[in-house]
Structure formats: C-alpha cells, structure tokens
C-alpha cells in the first residue's frame, strides 16, 4: 500500500484569517468610538478613553473565567451574588470584627473562591443537576447570606488607601486597567497555550469523548467554577473600592452583563468555541457604548434598551456564524 504524505505545516489562509468574529468586534468598536466622538467633543482623546475604562472594568474580571465556563457549555449565574457576599464579608471583617484591611481583602478573595468551589463540587458530584439550576440556587443563597450579615445596611469607612484600587493611576494608566491586563494575559495563555485550555475546549465539544480520552472532566470543571468564584472576589475588591462602601444588593444584574459580554465576544453557548481576545473586545464594546451614551446624558432606560438589543444580537450571532462557517466549508470541499 502506498504511503501517503500528510502535511504538518499550517497553511496561512488569508480569507480564513479575516473571516473571524473578532474583526467584526473591532469594526463595531471603531463605530462606537466614532459615534461617541461625534456625540461629545471631549471624548476623543487618549486620556478620556483610558479613564472611561475605569467605569466598567470591575465586572470585566469575571468575564475571563466566565468565558471558560461557557466554553465548557455550562453557565454560572451566581457570580453577582458571590461579588456581593465577598464584598459584605470583607466590609464586616474590617468594620465590625476589627481585622486589618489587608486581611479583610484576603478574606474577600477566599470567600469568593469558596463560593465558586461549592458551585463546582455541587455540579460535578450531582450529575443530574445542571449548572443553571445549581448556580441559580446558590445565587439566591449567597445573596441571602449577604443580607443576613448586613441587613440592608451600608458598610463603608474603609482606609483612605483602599480607594486607590478603583481610582488610582500608575504612570498615567488606571491601576484597574493594569490589573485587568495582567489577568487577561494569564487567562488568554491558560486557555490557548496550555494543556488545561486544550482540555477545556475538548470538554466543551464532546465531554464523553474527553472522558474516554482520560481527561479528568470533573476536576477541570470544579477548577473552572472555583476560578469564577475567585475572580468574583477580585471584582468585589475593585467594586467596593470604587464605591467606597458596600451593601448586600451591590453588583445586582452583573451576571447578565458578564454573560452578554462573553457571548458577544464570540463564545458559543453550546460550548467548545470562542477566544479570550473576542471577549476582551466585547467588554470594551459594551463598556464604551455605555460610557458614550452616559456622556450624552441618554436616559438610563434607553441604555437598558440598547444593552438588551446587544444581548439579542449576541445570542443570534453564534448561529449566523455557524451558518456562514458551514457555507465556507462546503465551498472548500467543492473546490
């Protein structure tokens, strides 16, 4: 039998390179910036855009692990409640228990991580429960605990230096942007350059085949939900710092914003597809859109409608993309 030579070099396909959702996001981002600039003469300068990121980057931390969760084909809707609980526990540790602020901040991250770990364990130990149901339950529970601890009160009076987290600059660049950039690089590398990331994609595409291939599916799933909890803790730190105080109802609705950002970023809700770069672009799309409309004093209701429309588009887009992807493939096999 003749032996066939199989190529091991990737061909660069210009068409395929430009046929990516991320380019579409770049285009949308440019359009939004043009609109914003025409709405407000003060918008279009570097410092203004950079400053704008401070207003929306707090929830962006959760977008990164949420991309992993959705690539798995799961969802986590408890993240906003996790933010509230971590934030409230931190405030109470400092204000009521008299712990040093540094320790309270660590506690904040630990609480977030634990919340995520609990989600992960429940989902992997009780296979009949779907991630939606588990995180819906814990969403209510975590928020409920936050209310029990603080009883609809606000808790503030943090040390002066704590506000630096949310409002500080390093060399003219917001501290929050730098921290986000670091996390974004870490998560991007984790997803695209490591065996862990490869296994996440495998699970999202075919969890049975992954199991048969020796992928420790339960372990990976638990780690990812725990990461989502940890990053919710990070968000709690920055959000609390920005607001200067916290209440049990902080971050309400964040889970929807976060999921919208991930899905708009090209991550398919059926799992297995999407990239970190797309989700990062979509954070800026939604964030800057909101900021620009705010500049022009567009009423809040209007903002909601536009965000809602974006959500619809975000849900529709993966389907459109799949269709065109198929057409592309057909074309290729014919040629």
């Amino acid at each position: 039998m003749e032996k066939r030579i199989i190529a091991a070099q990737k061909e660069f396909n210009l068409r395929k390179f430009f046929f990516q959702w991320e380019w579409m996001l770049v285009l949308i981002l440019i359009i939004i910036n043009i609109i914003n600039a025409s709405l407000s003469p003060y918008y279009l300068n570097f410092k203004s855009i950079i400053d704008a990121t401070m207003t929306f980057l707090d929830k962006a931390f959760i977008v990164l692990p949420m991309a992993f969760v959705i690539i798995l084909g799961d969802i986590d809707i408890s993240v906003a409640s996790t933010v509230a609980l971590s934030s409230v526990v931190m405030a109470v540790s400092y204000n009521n228990l008299g712990l040093p602020m540094e320790l309270a901040m660590v506690i904040c991250l630990v609480v977030g991580t634990l919340c995520g770990l609990i989600n992960g364990l429940l989902i992997t130990k009780f296979k009949e429960l779907s991630a939606v149901i588990v995180t819906l339950s814990t969403m209510i529970i975590y928020r409920g605990i936050a209310y029990i601890i603080l009883e609809d009160q606000a808790s503030g009076k943090f040390p002066q230096w704590f506000s630096y987290l949310g409002w500080g600059y390093v060399g003219g660049i917001p501290f929050i942007l730098i921290v986000f950039a670091i996390f974004a690089v870490i998560f991007g590398l984790l997803l695209h350059k490591t065996t862990f990331g490869r296994r996440v994609y495998a699970m999202g595409n075919n969890i049975t085949a992954s199991r048969f291939s020796g992928v420790q599916v339960d372990k990976i799933k638990t780690v990812i939900f725990t990461l989502a909890g940890f990053m919710s803790g990070v968000t709690a730190l920055f959000l609390t710092s920005k607001m200067g105080s916290t209440r049990p109802n902080v971050a309400t609705g964040y889970e929807l914003d976060v999921i919208a950002m991930v899905v708009l970023g090209g991550v398919s809700t059926s799992g297995g597809k999407g990239r970190i770069i797309g989700t990062i672009l979509s954070i800026f799309v939604i964030g800057l859109l909101r900021y620009g409309l705010g500049l022009k004093n567009v009423p809040a209701q209007m903002l909601l409608i536009i965000i809602g429309l974006l959500l619809v588009i975000a849900v529709m887009i993966p389907n459109i993309k799949i269709n065109t992807g198929k057409a592309h493939k057909l074309h290729k096999t014919k040629a």
Binding site: K3, A7, A8, T195, R198, N205, R211, F212
Partner: protein, 506 residues
C-alpha cells in the same frame, strides 16, 4: 379470505451503503406465535420497522388479510391493528398507567372535550385484569418493573384493538419468573385470536412459545420451519451458514507472557464472574449478542464504569483503576464502540484528536508545544495510513474508516500494553476494514495484547487467537482458534447453558 393475516412478499430495503433487506418474505397465520430469529445485524429490526411503518420498503408488497396495503407511517400501522412492544419500553414514566395506555386515543366527552377519567381508569383496570396482572391503573408508570411496563404496553396494544402484535426481545430484561408470566400472557393473547411475531435471542423462548420460526441472515430470508420439526443445531446452522470468504491478513504473532488477568469481575445488573487472561501478542476475541455485557466488561477494566466485585492484575500485580486516566497510565487503552460520540471530537482537526489523551507528553510544565504536536500527529497518521492531506483537516470530513484510524493513532501515542477495541470495524467500508485488521495484526506482532469486541462472526474467527463468548453478562464458552466454529460460537451466545446440558447438546 387468505390463510394469512399478514403476508410480506419480496421486501427489499437499502440504506446508504448497505442492503439491509434483500427479497425477504414472511407470513403470519391467524392466531399463531411466529418466531423471527437471526444474528446481530441480520435485518430483524429493519424488517419490523417496515411492518410498523417506521421505514418504507424499496421493493415488495405487504398484504393484510389478503388485501394489499401500503404502510406509510406508524399511525397507519396502528390503525391497521399492528402494535409493537419493545425490550426497552417506550413510555411516559411520569404519567399514570391509564394515561400511558390511552395516550393518543383518550376517551373524551363529545362536545366539551372533557377527559373521562373514571371510564378510562376502569377500562384500563379491565384490560389489565384480563391479562391477569395486578397493576393499579392510577399508579405511576415509572414506578413499575420492566415486566409490568411491558404488560401495560400489551394492554395499550389491546386498547387499540391490535390484531398483530410484534414483540421485539421482550424477555431480554426479565427474570425467569417474569418471563414465565410473559409467556402466559402471550399465549393468552394468541388464544384470544391475536397473531404474534416474537423476536428473541433466547432460543428457549422460541421453543417454549412459537409454532413456526423464520430465519433471517445478512438481510436475506433463509426459511421458515415448524418449530417441532427443526432442531437447535439445524436452526443455528441456518442462522450462520455462510461461507467465510473475506480474507484476514492475520500474521502469526509470538504469544508471550501474561499481561492482563481478570478474576471474578462483576457489576450488579451488568455482568458477573468474568475471568480471563490476556497475553502479549495475543488477539482475544470477545463476542456475544448485543446486550451480552461485552462493552460493559471492557469499560469497567478501562475505568469508565467502576466494577463492584473482582480483581484486575496487570503483569502479575493487582491494580485498581478508578478512571480512564488511571487505566491509560497503567497502559490500558480503549477504542470505544461509538467513535463519533465517544472517540472523537468531530469538529476538531486530526492532530488535536490524536494528541488529546496524551497531552502531557507534548508539553513542558503545562505549556503546549504546538509544532511538536503537529509532528507527532503527522508521524502517527502516516503510520496508520490515514487518508488526509494535512493533520489540520477536521475529522468530520474523513470517512468512517479513516476516523477509526485516527482513534487508533491516538491509542498508539499512549504507551500502552493492552488495547481494547470495541467493534473496531463497525460501519467502515471494506477497504478500511482490512486496513484496520492489518494494523491490529501488526500491533499484536509488536507485543501488544489486544482485546477485540466484535459481533461479526467472520472477523471474530479470522482475527482472534482465542475467543470468549458472553451471554447475559456471563462467559459461556472459551474457544481456541483451531476449535472455534460459527455454530459453536452462536450456540454459546444464544442457548441457555443449563438447558443445553439437559438437552444433551455438547
């Protein structure tokens, strides 16, 4: 009026790539129990699906009470009085027995469309009582045993006035006592004038119940006999009597020391008392009918489905395997039966599929080495001769045989000693089939121990050094290559051992 309630003449049916039925005939007398037997893949299911209107024949005619009919969909079959009862009952487990019986033909008041619950419950009770079953029609379907659910299905058929009842392996999931109960009901149905087509892998079912038996083999009609006129041996010959024409490129491999030893492996409800050994260079054929527990045994060894009894020894040392990762670390690999669901990530390219189970070899502290990955994939896919242009082709674009080769390549990259192949040539074309057989043979020569699960008799006989036959979760026979015949294997797979000894059959 015709002597037959149902008559099928020269029925043929093809699916892409296979001729499932070729010129098959069949007839059913009024008030008889007619058994339909054949090996896995003989075409019984397709045949039944044509009668029940799930599939439509390409050629041939169907006569119902002497009238030619067209059965275009299951609804029409139902209206003609044809009902089927399956091994895996298709029911609504959360609804009541009554609702299951009357699903689709509920009794309602003419104008208000109100459901007449009381009438339905009492009617259901009457049907069940007539069958001699003590089942409360208000109880939940899912709470019943499989045997009881089948009785409810029969009641449903009767509520539809079914005159022709098809039972597809109804006893497969039943205990001896439950089977007896089902026999009694079946006979009662017959005595009340229904005609029954009874499909079963258990020959004793057939001898106990049926008056006539028809045999299918490889989609062809072999013949019909009166049950008391044909012996078990002749029946088995009728079922397997094919010439083995395919060539198997089996090379003689040197059989070395013991690799794997299984002692008394068991899992409640699936298999029990499984013991065997596997040596270096040996191909061990594991055969039996579908549902005999072959895949379950191998999946237990591979750690997918934990076993609850018994021991596994690898190279003389006892090992405990909790998950597939453990198994692969120890050197046991498994090629699953359903390659599209269990074996491959279809949307992915060849290279990623090949390396998925061995990523740890291609990384440095978790960082993937992409160029090394592509090289390894290239080397392996050339070794098994995958027909592709690039290792970056997606596997969904490959043919079944080439997809299977990709999975084999994936196993080769792991440092394995034992390779379990579950139906390795199922659904692949002839060319790829012999290529896979050649690869298997080569692997055995290289000293791998291979367990091959297969339902295909020529493949089992052609490739195996030893053959283990399973029936209903137990090993019923072990043959050496020289001693194995199609007839002996099929008998071990189908006939109850106790009964075999009683009947004085070898």
């Amino acid at each position: 009026m015709s002597e037959y309630v149902l008559e099928l003449k020269s029925i043929s049916k093809s699916f892409p790539g296979v001729k499932a039925l070729d010129n098959v005939q069949f007839n059913l007398k009024s008030g008889e129990i007619h058994a339909l037997v054949g090996e896995n893949g003989a075409g019984k299911s397709t045949f039944i699906k044509i009668i029940t209107g799930v599939h439509h024949q390409d050629e041939g005619e169907i006569y119902l009470n002497g009238q030619q009919v067209e059965i275009r969909d299951p609804n029409e079959a139902q209206k003609m009085g044809i009902a089927a009862i399956y091994q895996h009952v298709t029911c609504y487990p959360d609804l009541s027995v009554t609702e299951n019986i009357f699903m689709g033909h509920e009794k309602i008041k003419r104008f208000s469309k109100r459901i007449l619950w009381e009438e339905m419950h009492s009617e259901a009770k009457k049907l069940l009582d007539n069958l001699g079953a003590d089942i409360d029609p208000r109880s939940q379907m899912g709470a019943l045993s499989v045997a009881q659910q089948q009785i409810v299905e029969i009641a449903k058929a009767l509520s539809l006035n079914a005159k022709i009842i098809i039972m597809d392996e109804p006893t497969a999931a039943l205990t001896k006592k439950e089977s007896e109960e089902l026999y009694r009901i079946t006979e009662q149905l017959r005595d009340n004038g229904a005609s029954i087509i009874f499909i079963s892998h258990r020959l004793e079912d057939m001898y106990r119940l049926a008056s006539r038996v028809s045999v299918l083999r490889d989609g062809k009609y072999i013949g019909t006999w009166n049950v008391n006129e044909i012996s078990k041996e002749d029946l088995i010959v009728a079922m397997v009597g094919r010439e083995i024409t395919q060539l198997f490129p089996k090379k003689e491999a040197k059989i070395g020391e013991e690799l794997l030893r299984i002692e008394g492996l068991g899992k409640t409800g699936f298999f029990a008392d499984i013991s065997f050994t596997l040596h270096k260079g040996e191909i061990l054929g594991l055969t039996g009918l579908i549902g005999a527990g072959r895949s379950e045994v191998c999946q237990a060894i591979f750690g997918i489905m934990p076993y609850d009894k018994g021991k596994v020894y690898l190279e003389g040392k006892e090992v405990k395997i909790n998950n597939p990762l453990d198994a692969m670390k120890l050197g046991i690999g498994y090629l699953p039966e359903d390659r599209q669901k269990q074996g491959l990530v279809l949307q992915w390219e060849i290279s990623k599929n090949i390396t998925l189970s061995t990523l740890d070899k291609l990384c440095n502290k978790g960082w993937l080495n992409a160029s090394r990955e592509a090289e390894v994939a290239k080397e392996l896919s050339e070794k098994v001769n995958v027909k592709a242009n690039s290792v970056f082709d997606t596997v969904s674009s490959l043919s079944g045989g080439n997809q299977q080769k990709v999975i084999v390549a994936k196993l080769l990259n792991a440092d394995l000693k034992v390779i379990i192949l579950d139906e390795p040539t199922k659904g692949v074309d002839v060319g790829a089939k012999s290529a896979i057989h050649e690869i298997m043979s080569d692997l055995a020569c290289q000293g791998y121990g291979i367990i091959m699960i297969s339902s295909e008799m020529p493949e089992v006989l052609g490739m195996s050094d030893r053959i283990i036959v399973m029936r209903e979760g137990r090993i019923t026979a072990v043959f050496d290559r020289e001693d194995a015949t199609q007839e002996a294997i099929l008998e071990a797979a189908m006939v109850n051992r106790a009964e075999r000894e009683l009947a004085g059959v070898r």
